[in-house]
Amino acid sequence: MTVLNRDNIAGLILLVFSLILAFYLTPDQVESHGNVPAALSARLFCYITAGLLGVLSLILVIVSLKKNGQAAAETRPASWEPLLRGLVCTAIASAYVALASLLGFFVSTALVMAIFLIYFGVKKWSGIMLFLIIVLGFIYLLFVEGLKVVMPDGLFF
């Protein structure tokens, strides 16, 4: 039995996406103007790019199936752990952006930076505090004082 490798799976996912783009998303999300010349239709390029992605994805699937034996061994993930770490960090970053409008950009940045500093192996609290003060101080001077950026209102700063 043929075992699907990463390229097969990626190609198939992209092929399905191109079909969804052509047959669902474009008709649903791009208004049609009826009988206008093709060049005036806002959907023209949507169909061209969807078709292009579909054809290229199909080629990827075919090419990767051809060299499945060697590629599978090379590209199959050894463990799910690294991917899980990436996903957890994405979730933390998402929580950070969500918290920015609630707590304030600087407070949520300080929180998430402290979490990631510990995650990346920084153990000394004095080091973490000093680093946060320097980085956030620089960011404040550059963005708030220099660029006059108005930060989103939060519960704190």
Partner: protein, 496 residues
């Protein structure tokens, strides 16, 4: 008018700020100009413009520093520099790569400035003669070049390019003003913002990839610098080998930079592709070839001067940075276009002098700054990446002051992470995204001109030649792939 202390100080200050800001991932040359503009309201026009062009040049070079040290281009223009620059850093040759980047940048910048000064009006007139079919064919060819050289697999590069084109479709259609793929978000009416997308694709995805390799609770060090003398300098032999590549890449960057819409990223990749063809060791490209760094940096910096050709002579900005510069010119009461050369000739030549002096300062500041910037590699990753993430999100927010853009950076960061994890290059996505509006606009305008016939792309001579080059490139690549696969299947190749 030019040889006054405050004008020279203005150029120096602009380059200094540009290099520093450009070297911070997420802060671009455009952002550097945007930061400086409010300071220039009450300045003399020459000082003001000198400061801004200095920042533009410094910012473009500065982008190569994080590209080499952190695998994160500080600006989109430095995306091609990552390919070999970061590989050199991994081999302990970060200082050598940084030095080659400054040499190539300054040489290319100076050459394109000379072209700007000498042949600006004729070149701009040629660029002006390019109609929609020519533009569509040129972009098609450019996209093929870009996708062919980015990454190990051409098909994966092309797929990512197609995804970039799809992302570029989001927003109001430029011809009919119909909303496309808005999903109910009014923030998407103007399309996906470039800066957050760039930050997400390169910097946030780099952060996420690095979180994978961390052993929790254990500090991780960056790539160590080699102590060999030759690994920390560009030898005469290396410089001699790179010189034809720098000159060729500068020429490509100058020509492409003179065409509105073709920014430094494309020039960098085009220069890189040409260098790969010219090199005696093309197999080393992407694995730490110094010629790769020289070609990419010469290509993108040559655009700085050339971009000003259509800007100054026609009032058409060549890229985003030049567009911000256009705004700054107008604030000073200078209206770029053919009349500028008649009405403000003294100011124009003062600007030309500022451009040349900016190259000298770029070299001096760059050489000194390398000493400090290269120390970044000695700082534990545990400190750098949380700070980079904070800069990324503040940078994404700062440009439009909109939290939606921070979500955009995060989404594209995750997309970039998934793509890179599976061996897809991310640079073609960004380039295709930037070129999509011009490609689509030119393509549809051409169809309107021809009454819906595709023959127009062949009957226009320049367009036909460009398409011919594209087709020849595809045929060449397919034949090459067949030959490679046949060679691999032949009995003699076993074990190789």
């Amino acid at each position: 008018m030019f040889f006054q202390f405050h004008v020279i100080a203005g150029v120096f200050g602009g380059v200094f700020m540009g290099v520093i800001l450009g070297s911070i991932p997420g802060l671009t040359a455009t952002m550097a100009i945007a930061l400086i503009i409010p300071m220039t309201f009450h300045m003399d026009p020459v000082v003001s413009v000198s400061l801004l062009v200095g920042a533009y040049k410094g910012g473009t070079y500065g982008g190569s520093i994080p590209a080499i040290l952190l695998n994160t281009p500080g600006t989109p223009a430095a995306a091609a520099t990552v390919l070999d620059g970061n590989e050199m850093a991994k081999q302990g040759k970060s200082v050598k790569a940084l030095k080659m980047a400054i040499y190539a940048s300054v040489m290319a910048d100076s050459l394109s400035d000379m072209v700007l000064i000498l042949v600006a009006p004729p070149l701009a007139m040629i660029a002006l003669k390019m109609g929609p079919p020519e533009m569509a064919s040129l972009i098609f060819l450019s996209l093929l070049i870009i996708t062919a050289v980015a990454g190990d697999s051409m098909i994966k590069g092309l797929i990512v390019g197609a995804i970039g084109l799809i992302v570029g479709l989001i927003g109001l259609d430029s011809i009919t003003a119909v909303r496309r793929f808005g999903f109910g978000f009014p923030e998407l009416d103007e399309g996906v913002s470039l800066i957050p997308m760039l930050i997400g694709l390169f910097a946030v995805s780099e952060f996420l990839i690095n979180t994978e390799s961390v052993v929790v609770g254990k500090a991780v060090q960056f790539f160590a610098r080699s102590k060999e003398r030759d690994d920390n300098r560009v030898t005469g032999k290396e410089f001699k080998a790179c010189l034809p590549i720098i000159l060729t890449s500068s020429g490509i960057g100058t020509i492409l930079g003179a065409i509105p819409g073709i920014g430094p990223s494309i020039a960098a990749f085009a220069g890189y592709a040409q260098a790969k063809k010219m090199s005696k060791h093309p197999e080393k490209f992407g694995k730490g070839a110094i010629e790769g760094v020289a070609a990419a940096e010469a290509g993108n910096n040559a655009v700085c001067g050339a971009n000003l050709i259509p800007l100054l002579t026609l009032g058409i900005p060549g890229d985003v940075g030049a567009a911000v510069l256009l705004g700054a010119f107008m604030i000073q009461g200078l209206h770029p276009g053919p009349m500028l050369f008649k009405e403000n000739i003294v100011t124009i030549y003062a600007i030309f002098m500022a451009l040349l002096l900016a190259n000298v300062f770029n070299f001096l500041i760059g050489i000194v700054y390398i000493r400090f910037a290269s120390k970044v590699v000695l700082i534990p990753k545990g400190y750098i990446f949380p700070a980079v993430l904070a800069f990324c999100f503040f940078g994404s927010y700062g440009f439009n002051q909109n939290l939606f853009d921070v979500w955009v950076a995060l989404i594209f960061g995750f997309l970039g992470y998934l793509l890179r994890r599976n061996g897809f290059p991310v640079a073609p996505l960004l380039i295709a995204f930037m070129l999509e509006p011009i490609l689509e606009g030119s393509f549809r305008q051409s169809l309107l001109m021809s009454g819906g016939s595709l023959v127009i792309f062949v009957t226009h001579p320049i367009s036909g030649i460009l398409l011919g080059c594209a087709v020849a490139g595809i045929v060449w690549t397919v034949i090459g792939s067949f030959r490679n696969s046949r060679a691999n299947k032949s009995p003699g190749s076993a074990g190789h």
